[in-house]
Symmetry: C2
Subunit: 238 residues, 2 copies
């Protein structure tokens, strides 16, 4: 993938209070994915893209009207539709197992829904492919086939073990309940990727309970299996 | 006012992920006042208090359901009703001129509404009184009478001059359009407080265009008129 900086679509947008953000592509409607939009207001021009279901979460919350729709048009993206994101970069959204946002949970919650509420992104410049999948409740044959051969995958690294938040006295919820598969274990992501032909494997969306953050046997195990641990400001060149 | 630390209402709430915040009292329904609630989730117990109109803004945005109503009860506060906020500390909300939140603005916007959408707070321990008024479109005789004799007032310091954002090329809006009176000028806050008997006068809610942030004639003028400029981490002892 070209390592050139983002190309602004409109030179006039780079004003005193602007950001280099040209497009926002949402992969989930939960707070950790959408609340940041509120700090991008007001009067900054960018494209806001998501599935119909994720856009409906924004539409149902008038607070997001602070993003002026004249400057921040909301673009509906269909699953498995290839869209142009930036000059020379295309993106494709696809369904991965997940759940509805926390604040829309009813009395019962299905944690391995496959639909428009939790999606992964395939980014391509026509030669190289990068996957960004910050939330994923389970590995599926379809997902495995899709990622095989990619240059890089950034993948849901929320927890090391399913019950680590409970064990650390930080809550009642397991990873499964939150719609996340764990790094470790027979059904974990490290095992799931072991036979996959993926160039770089990078954990993202890592919870602060996850022991992989610090030096120790878990970090060693992840790195020995070929995983990198993402960090703030990380830059990737493929 | 007593300088003792906040008294937790429930010792069990001080867990590994808790905060010392025991109560949140909203004075406005706009994003800079309410978006921070989204970072206090999830499963932290505190009281959430506001007028009916400001609570209706939260109610209209399902994203705030992330604050579990069992743990974060929403308490409606009537204007001019004295409520107990913490042990020995009472608060009274009162109307100040202002406007509806940005994201609820219609085609025309009334910028000096007096109602439940923009309020000030009077805090008292029975002896000393502190006012917190982060947004105020104009000084009124009622507001002047109310604040007279207070030990301290923290007041709307958004802009120095009404058109400074326009002058700096940062937007089309004046302070008046945003519902804020300026610091300087004949109808500004420095002049409005000149004859008021207030112990400490402290500007808060200061926009990053305001020249009072840096050393210079505006800062000198504010300080010579007896004003302090609030800063992150400021602690007050009355």
């Amino acid at each position: 993938m070209a390592s050139s900086p983002l190309q602004p679509r409109d030179p006039e947008r780079f004003g005193l209070r602007d950001t280099p953000i040209g497009a926002v592509l949402l992969t989930n409607g939960d707070i950790d994915h959408i609340a940041g939009l509120l700090t991008l207001r007001e009067k900054q021009r960018f494209r806001l893209m998501a599935t119909s279901e994720i856009l409906s979460v924004l539409d149902a919350n008038p607070i997001f009207e602070a993003l002026d729709r004249e400057l921040v048009p909301r673009e509906q993206v269909r699953l498995d539709e290839r869209i142009q994101l930036l000059d020379g970069i295309h993106a494709t959204l696809f369904a991965v197992p997940g759940k509805v946002p926390l604040f829309l949970e009813g009395d019962t919650v299905e944690t391995d829904l496959v639909g428009e509420q939790t999606v992964g992104v395939e980014l391509s410049d026509g030669q190289n492919t990068l996957f960004y999948i910050p939330g994923c409740a389970a590995m599926t044959p379809e997902l495995r086939d899709r990622m095989n051969g990619a240059q890089a995958v950034m993948f849901d690294g929320t927890l090391w073990t399913d019950d680590e938040m409970v064990q650390q006295g930080l809550g009642q919820k397991t990873g499964k309940r939150m719609g996340h598969m764990s790094m470790s274990g027979a059904d974990g992501s490290i095992a799931a990727f072991a036979e996959l032909g993926v160039g770089r494997k990078i954990f993202v969306h890592i919870n602060n309970t996850n022991p992989v953050w610090t030096d120790g046997p878990e970090r060693d195990e992840a790195e020995e299996a070929g995983w990198e641990i993402a960090y703030d400001g990380m830059e990737l060149t493929l």
